[in-house]
């Protein structure tokens, strides 16, 4: 699994960092998404899928 994040549409709601904190964080500056693991291990894949569904602005996707 490979994740793509688009900080230009991210609104910093934090759903990704809440749902999959080992994979996503938020910038201290403007709260936008930061990828800690662009290719997360298998045990994170469910959480990543949930985070993608929950993201309110469509800023993260699975490539």
């Amino acid at each position: 699994m490979e994740i793509k994040a688009d900080t230009t549409v991210c609104i910093g709601a934090g759903m990704c960092a809440l749902t999959a904190p080992q994979v996503f964080d938020q910038s201290e500056d403007d709260g936008t998404v930061m990828l800690l693991q662009p290719a997360p291990p298998a045990d994170q894949e469910d959480a990543v899928r949930r985070a993608v569904t929950l993201c309110p602005s469509g800023a993260i996707s699975i490539a």
Partner: protein, 397 residues
Amino acid sequence: MSDLTLTTGRERPFDPPDVYTRIRQQAAVHRMTYSDGHEGWLVTGYDEDRAVLADPRFSNRPELMHPPFARPGFKPEDTGRFRTPPGFFLRMDEPEHARYRKLLTGQFTVRRMKLLEPRIREIAESCLDAMESARRPADLVEAFALPIPSLVICELLGVPYEDRARFQDESRKMLTLESKADDVIAALGRMSAYLAGLITRKRARPADDLLSGLVAGGELNDEELTGVAILLLIAGHETTANMLGLGTYALLTNPDQLAAMRDDPSVVDNGVEELLRYLTIIHLGPVRAALEDVEIGGRLIRKGDSVTLHLPVVNRDPDRFADPGTLDVARPVGGHLAFGHGIHQCLGQQLARIEMRIGYAALLRRFPGLRLAVPPDEVPMRTDMSIYGVHRLPVTW
């Protein structure tokens, strides 16, 4: 003309009005008559609601919208008297909205909010200390549900809590559906004047708080700073306070659910999400205006039409949530729309989550014998306010 209109009156305190639950069984998108006679739309389906809220072809600018609900104190000509104040980015579209929101999102991240936990815990415990030593019965709204978010948002923004009588009263007038338009405008004016004065003081004597930081950032003028401050102060008070009050009422009338959260603190985080879903206190909208023709749920929504999203009904869509009318604090509940969806999804949601998690855990631990001090049907409900909840919650222990 459609017979369907928007109402806040309910048959039962925790369930959305039956009429919307009934029509949801036929369709997800419905014609609805707005208070000015406009033939617009009401959305009751989960997928359709998300589609509207995520679509930039739907605007959140109030001047493009028809009023879905007749405020009894408003005359038809009053609607046009309301304009979005500078900086009040909730009611702006992109790119204006992002300019303001980006200045704030760094202050409301999951990690930042986690740093506030020890202080929020102190605040919650001190409210409960005061409640414990006061006379029984107590009003849980006054002792617990309102002061916790109020103290927290005041400290975060840098608003003196001792001034709360000024902005809590003004906020209440603005959100009371029966208020006359003149009174709403006057209340907004007084709140703006108060916050403009505060911003002037922050410029002269900056402190370690959010408003001082925004002033020092230099990107917003004083009018914009005032609009941002109004939005954050009202949103920070009225939402979490009502979720704590209404949620406690729901738990007290569902004792098995209360016991599940009290006896196993690891259930609390999930229980908070379920309470958000089950109670969904935003009961009058949001509303959007179509900027062009858009098809949603098989219906063609024309450019200029207003669309109302019924979040309490949407959060009980049986296609999305099994047995949606049952409060089940252990259910897997991700994906509720209590904080909205799309670019306007609640900026303060991570703060609200932490306040509720800490608040409920502390309340249930400290008052294991908490119970209503009046019959359940005598709890006064906020059907007369733009944000739902309880006016008071008499409790004893």
